[in-house]
Amino acid sequence: MYSRAYKAIVSLPPLLWVTLFLLIPYALMFAHSFWLVRDGMILHRWNLQNYAKIFQNPVYLEVLFRSMRIAASVTLLSLVLGYPLAYYMSFQAGVRKDLLYQLVIVPLWVSYLVRGYAWKTILGSQGILNGFLQYLHITNDPVSFFLYSPFAVILMLTHIYTPFVFLPLYASLEHIPRNLIEASQDLGASPRKTFLRVILPLSLPGLLAGTTFAFVLTLGDFLAPLLVGGPSSIMIANIVQSLFGTAYDWPLGSAISFCILLITVSLLFFTERLEKRWSFR
């Protein structure tokens, strides 16, 4: 048993940290969302105008839905890439496992910005991809939709978040006792049935954690649209960023942020409940 003083001392720093950097900012943001801006001044006058604006001006909802569509696409693509990779590494890779694992991890050490610029040089009209296609005479002129399009944003974010989907999935596949797979085969289940009835259900907690990571992180991303997205792929975080920056409308920015926060938190709440239901140990 630890003494009360000890408990107080060790729990103080994290409590302080959470209060200073999470609770107070969120409270401030929440308060701001009920204030308003007039003549470049934030007036502390309580009202619901900001929330009304979100629903009245179609741009905000449209961008919000686009962001969610992009987040869903990135999540799905990361899953399509990440699950087979995790499955292969866990069940088939044998001695190459460690090397492959490092290959998945290493890109995470490279700065997000560097990876963004790398995609720019690959996808641009003078970029590597267009150069290659023209060299092979598949296209005559540079293909312009590669860069500055939702396609580019989805591609780049899929590249960045696939490891986040992969890691929890791989962990949950690695945790499946191998004798369960043998038991399934032994009882007459073909490899396909074994996958559907044993491996897939037992990997659901990892799958859920991975998809939550990818979706939530993509939904809040604003750098990918800035770097490779162009005007057609503005996401909700870009709007928030500009409202807090050049547009100087902190109250509206706060209201939008609060809506995103609400979506994210309810998503996390939902997935956590599902995860509890799906964990069997």
Binding site: P177, N179, L180, E182, A183, S184, Q185, D186, L187, G188, A189, S190, P191, K193, T194, R197, V198, P201, L202, W278, F280, R281
Partner: protein, 359 residues
């Protein structure tokens, strides 16, 4: 060395043989885990693969289940090749050492798994699951998750799950090793009874010689990847073919004796032998086959000798003595009695001195 030569075993398949293992070898890299095993299992038989850890008994089981591929040799079931089939196509089911129950399914779903996987008629499934659960006395746990069950209960479910498919051959990989001693004894009894009632052939793997003796129709003793001896528990105990068998199954005394003209001599001891060639031979004599001469009602044909009691250990129903006969130390088991010491006269029957091969 194998006492059932490979070619002889393959040539003389007894009628009613269900499974035939022919000259199976298995190597993992350069390590030879099984060295040309040949074995036949009769229909309805309870055969135990007994051996120390690393003797290859579990590997042999896994080869039959299909989780490993043999390096050479073949396995046949009802005359058809078994070793070329994937595990899910083999009419063989396994009770795993650590049960391997599916944690995401409840007890009834676990038991139904094999029926669903092999597409048994859907209408039959509930009744067959209920039957299987009744068989292991676990009906009231149908809706429980395996993690809520004790080890013994999980064991029963694993058994029900493996039996519900009505396999011709049930493989059991040290199924009782994780249970405590009392539960283990109880489960041994139930297992044996179940096997008799169902008439299913059991291939049972254990490292516990008492368990093997209690359950088996025949014991196949494995040593370093080769069969040491295959025989009924009684024969293997009373007539061990090798010194290894004699000391692995039960306790024994070894006497090195010189045999000449039908008489064996070891120090002051001397007894008649039948059909043992002249030369040096090793004899095995079980501790319970050496008696106080005074206890014997019928003293005909007994080999009598005097020895000093060095130690006496009380073991409940019996006493274990350590006696010294002219420098030769012997273990003796006699019925419970008051403390004994000093020199006494002991005796054994020449029939109980079994000549064993060394090694």
């Amino acid at each position: 060395m194998s006492l059932v030569p490979a070619n002889a075993a393959a040539a003389s398949a007894p009628a009613g043989s269900l499974l035939e293992v022919r000259n199976i070898a298995k190597r993992f890299g350069t390590r030879e885990v099984l060295k040309g095993i040949s074995l036949q299992i009769a229909r309805g038989e309870f055969l135990t693969l007994l051996g120390e850890s690393g003797s290859g008994k579990t590997t042999l089981l896994r080869l039959i289940a299909g989780f490993e591929q043999p390096s050479s040799g073949e396995i046949r079931m009802n005359g058809d090749r078994l070793d070329t089939l994937p595990p899910h196509k083999r009419k063989v089911n396994t009770v795993f050492q650590h049960y391997a129950l599916f944690p995401h399914l409840n007890v009834a779903e676990n038991v139904a798994y094999g029926l669903r996987a092999t597409q048994a008629p859907t209408v039959e499934i509930p009744a067959r699951v209920a039957d299987a659960l009744r068989m292991v006395k676990m009906e009231e746990y149908a809706a429980t998750r395996p993690s809520k069950l004790s080890g013994g209960q999980q064991q029963r479910i694993a058994l029900a799950r493996a039996l519900v498919n009505r396999p011709q051959l049930l493989l059991l990989d040290e199924p009782l090793s994780a249970l405590d001693a009392n539960l283990r004894k109880q489960m041994q009894g139930e297992l044996k009874q179940l096997q008799r009632e169902l008439g299913i052939t059991f291939l049972f793997v254990t490292h516990d010689q008492d368990e093997a003796m209690a359950l088996s129709d025949r014991i196949a003793l494995l040593r370093d990847g080769a069969l040491e001896q295959v025989d009924s528990p009684r024969s293997i105990y009373q007539r061990p073919a090798t010194a290894y068998t004699a000391q692995f199954i039960g306790q024994t005394n070894f006497l090195r004796a010189e045999v000449r003209e039908g008489m064996a001599r070891s120090g002051p001891l001397q007894w008649p032998v039948l059909a043992v060639p002249n030369g040096i031979a090793t004899f095995s004599i079980r501790p319970e086959n050496i008696h106080f001469f005074a206890d014997l009602a019928n003293s005909d044909n007994q080999v009598r000798f005097r020895a000093v009691v060095r130690q006496q250990i009380f073991a409940g129903a019996s006493e274990q003595l350590e006696i010294d006969c002219a420098g030769q130390s012997l273990r003796v088991r006699v019925s419970s009695r008051a403390a004994v010491s000093g020199e006494h006269e002991f005796a054994f029957s020449p029939d109980d001195a079994v000549v064993v091969k060394n090694g």
